[in-house]
Subunit: 346 residues, 2 copies
DNA sequence: TTGAAAGCGCTAACAG
DNA sequence: CTGTTAGCGCTTTCAA
């Protein structure tokens, strides 16, 4: 079944397509009678003029950018999106937000759609599953499509704005050690996430700089989805004897931390009295958790703003700009989910 | 400064535009040498092929819909977006999410962009400021662009999927009255929001069905932004004498409720002992507020799904479909922010 | 392996 | 007021 075009309407209405066009564009050069006749045919045929064809003529009218996050329901990305929007809007750009749902295939589709719809550039939180498939990024590069990554992707030279997760984790672990904790574990995020990898690395490297020694079993992968993280936390504690319990858990992110705290509550373990919890990101609601969460504050909004800033600069530049790689630093926020075990070092 | 086109590249590279096109589309019919030469020129000229022109030829390849919410940082809309996405993805549609930031002008721009970028249809949470400007909606109708509204807009016949806010408010007020509250006020939302209007109407009409009488001063407009709502709550209580304090406040939404609770805390008024609080929406974090919030649960996800369902049905229908108007109902969720003052009626 | 030419569906002059 | 015509910037045959 072929698409209805302006020609079909013109023919059916017994006018030329120029006239139909005039009606569509609300020119006041059309006799009322004619207009109504055309309108009637348009409706009858359910004619939907093709936007691409309408805009082929006029030079770029719109200023817009796109954002691809991994999971819109996670407040971290909402905050990043706010930053992107704030900067972009101020520069007169509209932003389209999309979510890949952690599906690489969807990221690919969106990146294609962005360019095919003449959205001027993209900010992408890339999925890195297995051997990073980055062909779509190369395609973008080939057509000089401006884009910024929110995580470093190996194998491609591109603009990256990210957060120094390694350093941030070190900060957290150091704080716990200084507070007298000696049995600390890390509940890690999904393996496919480079954030997760960096946090593991940061956790591990914190040990190389102190008297405690790192063991592989300190890394417990439980993901970040509430249900799963909750279950795995329960399992973890059921599997261990009381005396093996850690005194502190550093979580992959705040969302996971909430699931962990829910599980601990179920297990009748008190936070922070029995176990201290540290989150990651400092989402808006972290301070309102049942026990306000000690966490690592990621500059989410700034992340978005910087990405938008670089992107727009690239979009507006007639020549290729050098690649930029900015790394933002996180802060450590102490609230009530962590306990100080001794006062000797603090 | 004019746009670089494929012709510029062809000329500069000394080939025909057909060849350049083959390079762009990664055909393997191009000699390596030629390809590299073209690629070099593309990069040198910073050539960005126009997506609209590329797609003019091929019939609609993509299936996509757009969503315009008012404020993406408000979890209500995030939840709606999740519903839209879930349904749309399952049907093979990608969704573009945008936020008007409560600016009518931005809603207009997005609606235009959607159609001009051949995004197949839109779900719109309309801004209704002053005399509803709905010309943009008429434009959409004229070109038979499928769209669904998330609030009823007077003056236009369109598909609407909404929540029965009036009924929901009645539920809440009735519950409070039955719990022995007799001095109840409503902290209202922004006047421009039809949600706000409906909630006021629901609040008022609850009184017509009981022994208490409604007074205009029971409606206190404080908006929904945290800072402002917080301030206005403080002001409200400073302006009144202790014995004039309400025993219960029904809030415009959960976000506002949180601000109100923060303010009450600052004022050393305890929830629910001194004052009961009822929210609206039941956002994900409502159960994790310092005092878990009693609230009216809006079927946010379902709202999104139903809207997406109707939209896609309209998109895919070759003929005009009759207009639909679906109204979803809310549930009342009792948590710990409300107090029962007597037990006579409950 | 490349170039030439014919559109894609619409808009925008310009005649009439 | 309406029809005709020439593109918009690309892709896609089809010859060469």
């Amino acid at each position: 079944m072929k698409r209805i075009t302006i020609n079909d309407v013109a023919k059916q209405a017994g006018v030329s397509k120029g006239t139909v066009s005039a009606v569509i564009n609300r020119k006041n050069t059309v006799k009322n009678e004619t207009r109504n006749a055309v309108l009637a045919v348009m409706k009858e045929l359910n004619f939907r003029p093709k936007g691409m064809a309408r805009n082929l003529k006029q030079m770029d009218i719109d200023k817009s950018i796109g954002l691809i996050v991994k999971d819109l329901s996670y407040p971290f990305y909402t905050a990043v999106a706010m930053g992107v929007k704030e900067y972009a809007n101020q520069k007169g750009y509209l932003v389209f937000i999309t979510s890949s749902e952690n599906l690489h295939e969807r990221e690919v589709k969106f990146s294609q759609l962005f360019s095919s719809k003449d959205i001027k550039g993209a900010i992408i939180a890339p999925i890195l599953e297995g051997t990073a498939e980055i062909e779509h990024l190369f395609k973008l590069k080939m057509i000089n499509y401006p884009f910024i990554l929110l995580e470093d992707v190996k194998g491609i030279q591109a603009n990256v704005v990210s957060i120094d997760n390694i350093k941030a984790m070190k900060l957290a672990v150091k704080y716990l050690i200084d507070s007298g904790h000696s049995h600390i574990v890390h509940f890690a995020g999904p393996e496919s996430s480079s954030h997760a990898q960096e946090r593991i690395e940061g956790f591990r490297s914190a040990f190389s700089e102190c008297h405690l020694i790192f063991k592989q079993e300190m890394i417990v992968p439980i993901g970040s989805y509430h249900e799963i993280a909750y279950q795995k936390t329960i399992e973890y504690f059921k599997k261990h004897k009381r005396e093996e319990y850690p005194t502190a858990i550093v979580c992959f992110n705040d969302q996971q931390a909430l699931a962990v705290m829910d599980a601990l509550n179920e297990l009748k373990l008190r936070v922070p009295n029995d176990i201290s919890i540290v989150g990651n990101d400092d989402i808006y609601f972290a301070r309102m958790f049942p026990v306000p969460l000690t966490t690592i504050q990621a500059p989410m909004k700034e992340l978005g703003m910087r990405a938008a800033e670089i992107l727009i600069r690239n979009i507006e530049s007639p020549v290729q700009l050098p690649i930029e790689n900015v790394v933002l630093e996180a802060n450590f926020i102490v609230r009530q989910s962590t306990n100080i075990l001794n006062n000797t070092d603090v």
